[in-house]
């Protein structure tokens, strides 16, 4: 808000925090005015989530002062912060799926009448709450598990408001949303703002930050680099301050025509429960992008090729020979590698070391040829090549940032010298610096002769990385686009406003 020097709602002065002697936050100042959207950006590991946890009572700071509504406060835990009026919406929701919207909103502080929960009042108060944020379309008695992700997010927000939150922290609120749902979130943020609620908005996506915020604070290595009004910031500035790099160097060069070699993988008439009539050729040396809306069959395609949910019809060949990709193991042995979109759920073994994670596929699949020590040395080299940043290769992988975890997963596959690599959202939830490192790696792999299929729902990434693109819709390939295509071309094919002409 431009009429700021009013008393800030939240003022942090010199907040510091260390874990095990490692300084995570170093003298951070930050303030949020009522009705302001204050974006906090920074790479993973910059200290954003620690800072948010400190504000919401999850961690106690080692040094510094938190003032909330003009009073210095020390929160003994999340509940105290909640009671003071600070709500936090995590990336992963904290809802009971079997319960109704109203039951979730008033969970733990249900309105009571003669000792029993007063259902009618709970419903009516939930409706009022939803009305104040303009969400009248959401029924208060709907079961939460049946709602879409965007609506569940609204429930989370209503839950915080039911506790009279005056400051809302939103941590990567759009990470789980589809594109059209992001629009709805924008509207919701605006309405919260009009209520005089201060918002701390943590996001990797600069577009959102520019669309929504009044001011931006950049964190790097636990320090505040700068706070500036959004109107005075540019994307290039922000990226440079976050990582010290220009935005223009974002995507590596595409494959030159002579880099693209023979056809590695073909699918003819591939189909299963989620896919129909899949025909595709994937060549050595190229990055084939796959776009489409969520649920259009993008991931199903990668999972079919990796044998997770195999094709039930059609023919797949690898290097001209028919390939039976009936299971992940069979696919792995046939030279296919798959980097999943759900890194935590199926990409890493969280409590094992970096080294164990990187060795997993080799141990599970490869017969030992050249001796264990040689293999370990090789995998260590791969970890160094992909530039994993860890305290050591015996650190548990769950303590690494998303980007570093992804690099370890990549090293795991590179150890098998795969011919075909399938990437499903390889940079989801990864900070800007690591993102471009992954992009470089993907391109380097293609250049070294691998055939790469890469799924992405970020259009700039899809367009920036692909030599060709397939766009999927309703389980089919809706059309193919060449490298020069625009975002509009992809969207048009994805939503089906044009008929796919093979370009």
């Amino acid at each position: 808000m431009s009429d700021r020097p009013q008393t800030p709602l939240l003022a942090l002065r010199g907040i510091s925090k260390s874990f095990f002697g490692v300084r995570v936050l170093d003298g951070v100042d930050l303030d949020v005015a009522p009705g302001e959207v204050h974006a906090v950006v920074g790479e993973n590991g910059a200290g954003k989530s620690t800072l948010m946890k400190i504000i919401s009572g999850g961690h106690a700071p080692d040094g510094g002062v938190i003032e909330f509504a003009g009073l210095p406060r020390v929160f003994g835990g999340p509940r105290e912060a909640q009671r003071a009026g600070i709500g936090i919406i995590h990336q992963e929701f904290n809802l009971l799926p079997e319960r109704t919207v109203a039951e979730n909103v008033f969970l733990g502080h249900e309105p009571r009448r003669r000792g029993l929960v007063d259902r009618r009042r709970m419903l009516s108060r939930t409706r009022e709450l939803l009305a104040t944020i303009g969400e009248t379309a959401l029924p208060a008695d709907a079961v939460v598990g049946r709602l879409g992700v965007a609506q569940q997010q609204v429930v989370e927000i209503a839950k915080a408001l039911a506790l009279d939150a005056r400051l809302l922290i939103m941590d990567e609120p759009t990470a789980a949303l589809a594109d059209h749902e992001v629009e709805l979130l924008y509207g919701l943020v605006r309405r919260l703002q009009q209520q005089g609620i201060g918002l701390l908005y943590v996001s990797h996506r600069l577009t959102e930050v520019f669309d929504l915020s009044d001011r931006i604070t950049v964190l790097k290595d636990g320090r505040r680099v700068r706070t500036m009004p959004t109107a005075e910031a540019t994307a290039e500035d922000l990226v440079r301050q976050m990582v010290g790099r220009e935005l223009s160097s974002y995507y590596p060069d595409r494959a030159a025509p002579e880099d693209v070699g023979a056809v590695r993988l073909t699918v003819r008439g591939g189909g299963n429960r989620k896919l129909r009539d899949i025909d595709l050729d994937l060549r050595a040396g190229e990055v084939l992008g796959v776009g489409g809306l969520q649920g259009s069959g993008r991931s199903a395609l990668a999972r079919a090729l990796f044998g997770v949910e195999p094709f039930t019809t059609g023919l797949v060949t690898i290097d001209g020979k028919p390939a039976r990709l009936r299971s992940p193991r069979a696919a792995t042995r046939a030279g296919v590698a798959y980097v999943t979109e759900d890194r935590k759920g199926e990409g890493i073994v969280g409590r094992q070391s970096v080294l164990d994670n990187a060795l997993l596929a080799s141990r599970a699949v490869l017969p030992l040829r050249s001796g264990r020590a040689a293999r370990t040395v090789r995998v260590r080299e791969l970890l160094a090549t992909v530039e994993v940043r860890a305290a050591g290769d015996h650190q548990e992988i769950r303590f690494l940032s998303g980007g570093n975890q992804q690099k370890v997963v990549l090293a795991r596959w590179l150890a098998l010298d795969p011919l075909i690599l399938l990437f499903d959202e390889p940079t989801r939830g990864i900070d800007v610096g690591a993102k471009s490192a992954i992009h470089d790696l993907v391109r380097r792999l293609a250049r070294s002769g691998a055939a790469v299929l890469m799924i992405s729902s970020e259009l700039p990434e899809l367009l920036g990385m692909s030599d060709r693109m397939l766009v999927m819709r309703d389980g089919r390939i809706a059309g193919e686009l060449s490298a020069g295509a625009t975002e509009e071309d992809v969207v048009a094919l994805a939503v089906g406003t044009v008929r796919g002409a093979a370009a």
Binding site: F306, V308, P328, R329, T332, R333, Y338, T340, G345, E346, G347, I348, V349, G350, R351, Q352, D356, L359, L360, A361, R363, A364, V365, L368, A373, T376, V377, R380, E381, L383, A384, V388, A390, G392, D393, H394, R412
Partner: protein, 327 residues
């Protein structure tokens, strides 16, 4: 990332420490001191050797249980499997020395078979292993009663019993070394080597996150089934030792499954899988045996054993959960 093959000693020590065995070793030391205070000659070779020999079955069962637990499952069937094996051995041998070795092989094969069935039912039919092995427990108990008409028949040969009760005599400096202890040391070494092998590492990964393991090409079902078979095999060896040491009865293996689980938990192995070492599990069993010895020396009723085990399980799991959530 360093590329040296061998890490310098201090960091290797740090790894051992991060394995979380230090508290357990401390408990072991305290127990030893308490026992020695009461019974000064406990630490003398003869009694120490015989203590270790007596502890061998539980330590082996703990190692077997470890394979199953670290892969994310449970094996409740081992106690009744031990009983069944002892009773079966007695009837098959029927005091005929020439049948000793064939029956040993039958027992080992039987242990593997029970493990195979546990594994296949758990993985292929998707029955939770808690239920599978509870069912197996009951089936074995009933089957043995039925087969022997309610009272153990036959008898073990002296050749069979020597594994559990005899020793290498007059070893310089140590005196008697029970066969059971030698068998234990050999199998414990194999267990440690197995956990360092590719199979062992994949086994832990399967327990940590089976989805990831599967999507990395691991055969999750097969790996878990092998873990059950190893547990069955451990039970067979334990049965041979127990039959020799304490003889044939329907109580031979009673409660051993809980002893093994307690030992594994005490050894810092996470229930649910993915964390802990086989050395920890075996040390846990040793600690448990020491604790029982201590209770015995101080005149605490043996009837309290289950209570103590229950308390240990609850306490150890609570501590490890706290530690892992508060990072």
């Amino acid at each position: 990332m360093r590329l040296v093959q061998r890490r310098p000693l201090p960091s290797r020590l740090a790894r051992v420490r991060s394995g979380g065995l230090l508290p357990l070793i401390a408990i072991l030391a305290v127990l030893l001191v308490l026992i020695t205070v009461r019974q000064p000659d406990f630490m003398a070779p003869p009694s120490l050797m015989s203590f270790l020999g007596r502890s061998a079955p539980l330590i082996l069962l703990a190692a077997g249980q470890y394979f199953v637990i670290v892969s994310g499952e449970f094996d409740l069937s081992v106690g009744s499997l031990v009983t069944a094996q002892v009773v079966v051995a007695a009837r098959l041998i029927d005091s005929d020395p020439s049948r000793t070795w064939p029956v040993v092989l039958v027992l080992l094969a039987g242990g593997l078979l029970v493990g195979l069935v546990n594994g296949l039912i758990t993985t292929r039919l998707r029955v939770p292993s808690f239920i599978t092995t509870l069912g197996m427990f009951l089936i074995l108990v009933g089957a043995v009663y039925l087969w022997s008409n309610g009272a153990p028949k036959g008898g073990l040969s002296e050749e069979f019993r020597r594994f559990g009760r005899r020793a290498f005599e007059d070893v310089p400096g140590l005196g008697r070394i029970p066969y059971a202890l030698v068998i234990l040391l050999v199998l414990a070494t194999l267990a440690v080597l197995l956990m360092r092998s590719d199979f062992g590492r994949v086994l832990v990964a399967v327990g940590d996150n089976p989805r990831t393991a599967e999507l990395s090409g691991a055969r999750v079902h097969r790996t878990r089934t092998i873990a059950f078979m190893l547990s069955g095999l451990a039970a067979a060896v334990a049965a041979i030792l127990i039959g020799g040491y304490s003889g044939v009865s329907f109580q031979a293996g009673a409660g051993l499954e809980f002893g093994a689980i307690t030992a594994v938990v005490l050894g810092g192995v996470a229930l649910g899988g993915g964390r802990g070492s086989v050395v920890g599990a075996m040390l846990g069993a040793l600690t448990l045996e020491l604790l029982f010895t201590l209770m015995n020396f101080y005149g605490v009723s043996g009837a309290l054993r289950p209570t103590v085990q229950g308390a240990i399980i609850l306490f150890a799991v609570a501590v490890s959960t706290r530690r892992s959530t508060s990072r």
